[in-house]
Symmetry: C2
């Protein structure tokens, strides 16, 4: 039996809907990230349609190149699902009826009071001799077989099933074969600074030769810095990674919001719990996105008091009672209105911190203010701060970035509080 | 010159970040959908890392199989970007400095007051004889060249640049070569019914032989039915598609919310404008998601009056004044509380329609109500309706599905209004 560790893999994704651009291949992104963490490099990914011949070719080519091939999709229990037949052909075996699978299908249809389609009996067949990974969510089991010299794992394309079967079948196999994967990368997540400006701040740091390679990954939740151990780096991996990320983090200061992969809203939730502070929000242009992000965190009812979305032109003076003369003199999109929103949200909800958001999400400008202009205010016992942003991009992007900038404002406020600045 | 229409293509995606699972390949999904609309079938997609050799191999293999190959990524102006060199090797030409590109790079860095890195001079080179597609957003131009017998287009991986260059360079080429693409598919979008139940409702319809093939695509915004014209179907494509989708739509009734691809929130916005109705929301468990979806639609300030998020246990009696005895007797997660939220949101905001949401997003249960239980209420001049849902899945899924079910409730209300039921 081959017992060498497996360090590289290929993935074959099966599905017409992927090639038609109807569905994004999020399965692959999930799988690739998981394999990277397990110390397995994905050398290539191939997407093909549902046809038996194209599946057979792609898997055959992948098995000729890589010691591990993971196939996702085309493994359901309908006649369109041709992966089973393609794999059987490649392994030179027949498809044989699987009594256990047939029984499970009967129970499945009976539970749902649906007559089992006749065609399904022939779908309850598996390649002879294939290892079966039980599917606890859906019907079709995962498969494990040898093709050429490669270990081939095949999973249904339904994301929840694919993930569960990977965790139940592929990960234990990799652990057995490779041992526990050493940590080879660490992340620093930042908010409020672009990729180029980050690189500029780290210029001296990046100029020196280091035992890690550093990538800049712009994502919706900010730019992430990924530190990966270089091949042949000397010393204990975890220690090197900690040392290098700590140095960069010291240079970047409070631009870094997370060193453990957490989202910005999770960091804010943690700090609010730690400092025993509560929050209320009054959002105009973000239309509830800020509250939605805050309440994405389990247990948020402990510190999120109340959200207000005074969206109609007259509603800012309504529930929250922003004085009409403030709006008349300064406009709904103004620093003063943002301040009033923050103060009144805090007062009405009886929260420690009030956040106010007003701006122009677009596509039309408002009161001669340009699209993307946003005022954020934070009110607490220490007083009121306000910031102006000019954010690029679509309506969706402006809402998202404004809401995350507001989260970051709460984070910075709570950090400063710890340091006794407030 | 080869003038035959191009009906199939392959795509090669280049980028370590894709194979590491750090970035989802949204470029491919966008490109595939666009090619499908243009009548070009994507036969295979291959993702490789940033290495020159792996790019060369993948493009060479693709060019041997398909008449059109689109390469995305590895085309920036840094030394890591190896696509240019790989393509030059495959075409058997040299990389030659491009004076125009060099000048643009100098201007780019000067405008940003950054010293141009020396290395970049060598990066301002292009494969000899390659067609250049000007990049109006970033630095690196798109390329068009012939490799084997295939037309190869290469674009940078930055999504905005890739999209613009595809529109500027690839689409005009396809139109010239193929003429205007005939419409070959139509969608019906549904909400509130699962894939299996949909298939059951359409059993008789699906049992007959038809000039279209029908796929069920479960997405976040509901299950979409895709009708695609079969090869060799006789008659005018648009007419056949309209006839078939109309028949299915008649069977499904108001489960179908869109026949033109619109999102649920866009349909609701359209109906609100049409009927001249305004909305206010009071959300507990969705925490602002419903308001966020409504305000995703440009111009929503015309009909979205105000949103309330009384999240803290005592806040439902606060701003909105839900009577404390209602909450004490029925609980915060109850039909009665949802009704009160809807009524009071409508009254306080002065809107035509009030929507109330209360439920258990999880992961913890509340007041002995199970995770996923949600009460939705809608209040209007015609009275108050309330519905109970038990939604499966994570906190995020419950929030999303509850918010979309509330949108659907508004849609159904407005449809019934038209039919004079109210």
């Amino acid at each position: 039996m081959n017992r060498r560790p497996i360090r590289s893999a290929e993935v074959v994704s099966v599905g017409d809907e992927l090639l038609l651009g109807v569905t994004a291949n999020t399965n692959f992104t999930w799988l690739a990230s998981l394999l990277a963490e397990a110390g397995v490099r994905v050398a290539r990914e191939t997407t093909v349609g549902d046809g038996e011949e194209e599946i057979r070719r792609a898997v055959d080519e992948a098995a000729a190149r890589a010691p591990l091939v993971v196939v996702t999709g085309g493994l359901g229990v309908t006649p369109d699902d041709r992966t089973r037949q393609a794999l059987a052909d490649l392994a030179g075996v027949r498809l044989v009826p699987d009594p256990e699978l047939l029984r499970e299908m009967e129970v499945y249809y009976k539970d749902r009071r649906i007559r089992m389609p006749r065609i399904n009996v022939s779908q309850a067949s598996l390649p002879e001799g294939a290892g079966k990974i039980p599917n606890r969510i859906g019907l079709a089991p995962g498969l494990r077989m040898r093709i050429r010299r490669a270990e081939v794992f095949a999973f249904p394309g339904v994301p929840a099933e694919m993930k569960k079967l990977t965790e139940d079948g592929l990960l234990p196999f990799l652990r057995m074969r490779n041992g526990e994967a050493p940590i080879r990368q660490r992340m620093l997540r930042t908010w409020g600074i672009g990729e180029n400006a980050l690189a500029e701040k780290l210029r001296d740091f990046l100029a020196r030769e280091r035992p890690v390679s550093i990538s800049f990954l712009p994502e919706r939740g900010g730019v992430t810095l990924r530190f990966r151990l270089r091949e042949g780096a000397k010393g204990e991996p975890e220690k090197i990674l900690a040392e290098q990320t700590d140095r960069a983090a010291a240079i970047l200061g409070d631009l870094v919001f997370s060193t453990g992969g957490e989202e910005l809203e999770e960091v804010v939730a943690y700090l609010l719990l730690l400092r025993k502070r509560t929050v209320a929000t009054a959002e105009s242009c973000t239309g509830g996105r800020l509250a939605d992000l805050l309440t994405a965190v389990p247990g948020s009812s402990a510190w999120f008091r109340e959200g207000f979305i005074p969206y109609g032109a007259d509603r800012k003076s309504g529930t929250l009672g922003v004085p009409e003369e403030v709006i008349r003199e300064h406009g709904t999109v103004s620093a003063r209105t943002a301040e009033e929103l923050a103060r009144r949200a805090r007062a009405v909800a009886g929260a420690d911190i009030g956040v106010g958001v007003t701006g122009v999400a677009g596509p039309e400008s408002v009161e001669d203010q340009p699209v993307g202009r946003v005022f954020l205010a934070l009110d607490s016992a220490a007083g009121t701060e306000v910031r102006r942003w000019d954010l690029p991009g679509s309506r969706e992007r402006v809402k998202e970035r404004a809401a995350r900038s507001a989260l970051d404002m709460i984070r910075r406020h709570l950090l400063a509080e710890r340091e006794g600045k407030r």
